[in-house]
Symmetry: C2
Subunit: 169 residues, 2 copies
DNA sequence: GGCGGCTTCTTGAAATTTGAACAAGCGACG
DNA sequence: CGTCGCTTGTTCAAATTTCAAGAAGCCGCC
């Protein structure tokens, strides 16, 4: 029954200010994610994550990415990606293609229809992001937000090789 | 086929910096949410949202809240809450109680077992939040984050009465 | 009283996500 | 060559979430 680090020791609770910040964070992030999810579901017929998959493919070299790469880029499991691509395939927005170099591999390829969906819906999505976030923040706040988020992400990054194998150092 | 506001006009794309901030935001928030979800699933046997429900109840006057209130506090739909409470009830952590004043109403009540689960798992959760977020940010950054998140939340708040009925002003 | 509109909460089915298990291919190494 | 360990992607079942109804009570008002 081992919890997180030193959970048995006297816990350092959050201070009042920290608690305030944390609640604001949870509040805002869930509201924003819900907002964008509904916006995209309404205007593009897919959840935010799926939209992110299409964007990822659109930016990739030949509008294609190996499943694993795409999964990492979107920070979702391969399993989840399999299901998602199956759904997007049914929509005609993505197509699967075998990888010649590795017979296990599959490419997810953005179809022309997929490109078209993005072309049609991206402006509305950008507008939503802008209205919810950037239009409300000062340049300094935008900069601060970027820095903060980078720090947080860095601390949670899927560990690099050997990072958790200290006996290898 | 009406998208978001003025999506037909020449879209104002995100600048390079904005895009950078936005990606950092998405990256960090999904990593953090996944991290906490896994942490709580592992140590408390429930997802982050469910944990939030227990916390909400724990802080309420008699460890109880009407379903609608709890749903609003957690920012989820009543439907979702119904299912969630059913699950937590099966765990023995929450119990339903009729509302005497309104026969339609139900209270969700945190049981002693529920309290115990929180007592046992809260320290680990706080530690995780601290390690992922507060331990990495300067006091100024924490303050900035709080302000930013408040602004964002304010802009997405479920609209108050008449907010979208300008002809009423 | 009782009707109409609203609120409260639940339900059931479909969609999505999770987690474990699996088939198949890769690749190094004896 | 073989086979062991690892990677790739999928699949299944269970859990969770969404969405569209729907049952029941409340409330104001005639």
């Amino acid at each position: 029954m081992n919890n997180a680090p030193d959970s048995a020791a006297a816990p350092r609770w959050l201070t009042a200010e920290e608690q305030h910040v944390w609640r604001a964070y949870l509040h805002a992030t869930t509201l924003l994610e819900d907002h964008l999810d509904r916006q995209l579901q309404r205007d593009a017929g897919m959840p935010h994550v799926y939209y992110g998959l299409l964007v990822g493919l659109a930016e990739a070299p030949r509008r294609r990415l190996r499943m694993t790469e795409l999964a990492m880029q979107a920070k979702i499991t391969r399993s989840r990606l399999s299901h998602a691509i199956a759904r997007l395939e049914k929509n005609g927005w993505v197509r699967r293609e075998d990888c010649p170099a590795d017979k296990r591999g599959q490419f997810a390829v953005l179809t022309d229809e997929g490109v078209e969906v993005l072309r049609r819906t991206a402006p509305g999505h950008v507008a939503a992001v802008r209205q919810a976030l950037f239009d409300r923040l000062s340049p300094e706040q935008q900069k601060a937000l970027g820095e903060i988020m980078e720090i947080v992400a860095e601390g949670l990054q899927p560990k690099e090789a050997g990072a958790d194998l200290p006996w290898l150092r």
